[in-house]
Symmetry: C2
């Protein structure tokens, strides 16, 4: 029981790094946290309400000038305990869902026109990942200009970002391999 529950813990980490509203969390999930955990705002609001009911977080209504009010969430002790308990559980094996790999193998059962369309699609996909890599590298220079001078939290954020960077580089190299293979077919 307790299951893996997933999103709760990503939210706890994000709120510990910096308290904020559901809307702000949703934007973080579109940027930094979203590199390794995606979530929509609907899901975030739903989970935040449950976490508040469970006493994991506390909410504070904040009136703002020139904008709608917001509910700012902060992690409470039970939430912190839930997180440290989860941190000690074994990491679940990743459940991989790589759609492009399925399509590449599927291309064996399509005609020349289909394979040509796939090449175009792989090229577009590759451009997206190149953009992502550039965004990561820009973010790295902005957030970690002096890697020797970081506190523990920043070093951990940095090593996760380096993982994202190496992943993108690996994907780009593999997509070149894929394109060569498709062209030589």
């Amino acid at each position: 029981m307790m299951a893996d529950v997933a999103l709760e813990h990503a939210i706890l980490v994000s709120l510990l790094e910096q308290p904020g509203s559901g809307y702000e969390l949703a934007r973080r999930f579109d940027r930094s946290i979203g590199r390794f955990w995606t979530a929509t705002h609907q899901q975030i609001y739903k989970v935040l309400r449950r976490m508040e009911a469970d006493g994991w977080v506390t909410a504070e209504e904040i009136g703002q000038d020139g904008r709608p009010d917001k509910r700012c969430y902060t992690v409470a002790e039970p939430g912190r305990d839930a997180l440290t308990g989860w941190l000690r559980e074994p990491v679940q094996p990743e459940t991989v869902r790589h759609e492009l790999a399925v399509k590449i193998r599927g291309a064996a059962f399509d005609d020349a026109a289909g394979r040509a369309a796939l090449i175009t699609e792989v090229e577009r996909y590759r451009a997206d990942h190149e953009t992502t890599l550039r965004r990561y590298l820009t973010g790295e220079q902005r957030d970690f200009p002096d890697p020797a001078d970081l506190d523990a939290g920043q070093r951990l954020q940095h090593v996760v970002l380096r993982g994202g960077i190496e992943y993108e580089r690996m994907v780009l190299a593999w997509l070149d391999d894929v394109l060569h293979t498709l062209h030589d077919l």
Copy 2:
């Protein structure tokens, strides 16, 4: 409409490569196909029944000696059409779920004992990925001993496998980076 629907197409590709029963598919998803698309036997049986009802596949009851009967599935024309239609749709952006990355950033909010436990867990996780890499490399030597002498389908399978191999190598290098970072904290 039509959504991404996911598993159907992975099953279609697998059945086109080789017709088989739900049980056989489940084992393939634990090995080859499962590298980039995971599925349990319950889900596979459920989807196969739906695909049969939709006319995407046809089933044949096969009595066997020394084993229970099985239902062998073959892709029908509508299924093939559904696949080629899907192949021409844009690849959806991956929805990343990297639990370990969340835990690493979460370690900033845990004590020394928690970080020590995380190091142990990362080492176990690393050993798993090393095993996976070795399995891929063994499979590559077995299935593609002569890369110059492959048909289109095999070349596509091979390039997907190379992606898996490079992914594992990248993960192992990153995990070493993670371990150094955690030790130096």
